[in-house]
Symmetry: C2
Subunit: 422 residues, 2 copies
């Protein structure tokens, strides 16, 4: 038997166990699931003496493998971060249980009572990169929505994730739920991740979280349905009627408040007629916060304290204090540019013109379209969902910020008294 | 340049044209779209002299290639069928336009006005087999929901589909909509179908309609998101408390009323304690209608006028006047059997016991679960959707009968007055 076949067979055992656990979890009521989440929140805090050494081991391996400072920071768990994670689990426990919610229903002319209700997916697969916080976060969200979850968290966080999953599994057993509801498959390496992507019938949905490369490879290779949580090449367009102060504040907030996230703006588009009025103040404020401006020819002429933009800049998600800037002739020019380069995450127009605002909202085909608001508001927490599973940039099933309902499917329930079709 | 590369480049041109057309269509109001549909309904009737010879050519080719009688019947268009198709298009025109519907919305504490609205997917790809009625049906549903559609209808109906698409395109042009909103790619053959499945970014969703083989190959090969409209290995379970007349009527209706469709029952499960009471009458009624019974050992002992079932029978979608029958010990035995063999389409329990009815509804994980009703009711028309796109057996995006809203995505619209995130 080849090594691959051995891996597949053992991984399949885990997935079958996850499927069995999902059947139990689907019937668990909210009280039981919330008790499990509170036990997990508590267990995470009580097991620091096991979690920190495992995390230190991963960090040491990371340093040896020249892991970047940024990645090391994402990998690191300390007392404060663990307390934050534990608190987040308690917050998820406090959310409304989506399972069993009736979405619509009616009595048909023949007397059949038909309702559409929320049910769990069953088994969720999560593929992500060296971020132990995602391990706890996605496990808690999956449990709350009645789903079993199979985690592939990447070899760089393997030791931390193993201990975290063990802590979660003990907590599940403590409240009488099957521990196989949360499992890691990190020990199967890259081959395991590939098997997970092909486990149609055992895994109901895959959620990749991480870099554009990771997400793209999951989307391309997977035969299991995927919810794509994607990159954000996000645009703000300053219309000719834009208020100067509003433009300065929104662009600054959208770029500087947290540049490393997907809802931060990456490209500023400015109407040609108002560029001389708007650009100096908007870009000066950004420069004061350390933003590097990548300017096209026309904006460079107005604001020389910038580097010349190349074609690559328009398609780049910097995730840093960098911003590309382009002068466009009119709203059509802005929409055309967005259509060409956007990842369909979030775009915002700053304007006081009603007709152009409505045209922007109607014609820009992104998950979130805004008027006179910072793109940083595209967020499950800000939208009032209480928790965020990710931000979907695909059009199927979920689009934009995803909350607990987006981790569920539906089922039609038909109650009759012997009806037959004529 | 290889032949494959040539095909890809020309097909891509068509897909790009479909994308451009979808942008126009997304902005078209309901009045314009309905006018297009009524023009199409009229054009289909006016162009019989072009449609019938093309259909006769396909039928002649089919006979030459030994196409089965059943497939020839599905391929055949006559005056009555064409009138039915034309009428169906008019009915779709009369349905409520889903585009622009507000699904939810609120004003956030910071004053941001947030709404989630229905928008078209953009470009839908449809892959199906030699059924010209699907060409008209899916084109009408796509147009009504503001989507462009690219059709791959199979070489066996190529001549009929070419004329139908040409008739539709002329009607679109007549009302000022881009004719590229409805296109066929039959001329690119199998290679074209494969390209379509890989056209991520140009095609938003693929809908396969047809045999289990066709659907399975699309699901496995496609990198474009797929809505799986699947096979139905549908079960009816007769509980020990089942009323005899109700059991006879429901099983007979579920099997005999239209055996060739996915919501017809394929396996009957019977509680062991009541099998002697129920099976003779239930199966005698089926035999009188010409149904062949494939019985397990225990049911064969009760009803000898049957053939012995093999393991294969439990996983078979007969789509014919055949039914597999199995005696199970209790509800758990029925649920276990369904879990193992069901395609998660529709299952129904016949019972007068409340607790067991509720357990069946809660624990059977299928798109539609029923109590005391014929499985034939799993149907968009019966559910009151007005039109049916297909019946989804997957858990993502849509599950069960799909209507017009299931052909749409959503978008979040955020209206602010200069809000920034703190």
């Amino acid at each position: 038997m080849s090594e691959t076949a051995v891996v597949a067979s053992t991984l399949t055992d885990k997935l079958v166990a996850a499927r069995e656990a999902s059947i139990v979890l689907a019937q668990a009521n909210a009280a039981t699931k919330n008790k499990a989440l509170r036990t997990i929140a508590d267990a995470v805090m009580r097991n620091q003496s096991r979690i920190f050494p495992a995390n230190e081991l991963d960090l040491a391996n990371g340093r040896e493998n020249n892991m970047s400072e940024g990645l090391q920071d994402r990998l690191r768990l300390d007392e404060k971060r663990l307390a934050g994670l534990s608190h987040a689990v308690l917050e998820i426990a406090d959310l409304t249980d989506p399972i069993g919610q009736v979405i619509r229903g009616s009595v048909l002319p023949n007397g059949l009572n038909v309702t559409q209700v929320r049910v769990p997916f069953g088994v969720i697969g999560a593929i992500y990169e060296a971020r132990p916080n995602v391990t706890i976060d996605i496990a808690a969200l999956a449990l709350k929505s009645g789903n079993a979850v199979v985690l592939r968290g990447g070899s760089a966080a393997e030791n931390t994730n193993r201990v975290l999953v063990d802590v979660i599994q003990s907590a599940l057993a403590e409240v009488g739920l099957p521990f196989e509801a949360v499992q890691t498959i990190d020990e199967f390496g890259r081959e395991g991740a590939k098997e997970l992507m092909r486990a149609r019938g055992l895994v109901d949905v895959l959620i990749p979280r991480g870099s554009a490369n990771l997400i793209n490879s999951v989307v391309t290779e997977s035969s299991v349905p995927v919810i794509e949580t994607g990159a954000g090449v996000v645009h703000v367009y300053l219309d000719e009627s834009a208020d100067l102060d509003t433009a300065v504040d929104i662009v600054h907030n959208a770029k500087v408040q947290r540049p490393s996230v997907c809802n931060a703006v990456e490209t500023l588009l400015v109407n040609a007629a108002s560029a001389p009025r708007l650009l100096p103040a908007v870009l000066t404020r950004l420069r004061e916060s350390g933003v590097t401006i990548h300017a096209d020819e026309r904006s460079l002429a107005i604001f020389p304290d910038a580097v010349a933009a190349t074609e690559d800049d328009w398609a780049t998600e910097y995730m840093s204090l960098d911003l590309s800037v382009k002068v466009v002739d009119d709203l059509d020019g802005a929409i055309d540019h967005i259509r060409r380069y956007s990842t369909h995450h979030t775009e915002s127009i700053v304007t006081n013109d009603l007709a152009r605002a409505e045209r922007f909202l109607a014609e820009v085909d992104s998950a979130v379209v805004m008027v006179n608001a910072s793109t940083r508001f595209t967020d499950g927490g800000e939208f009032g969902f209480g928790a965020e599973v990710g931000i979907s940039t695909q059009k199927l099933h979920a689009r934009g910020p995803m909350g607990l309902p987006e981790l569920t499917s539906t089922r039609w329930v038909v109650r009759g008294t012997g009806q037959v079709r004529s």
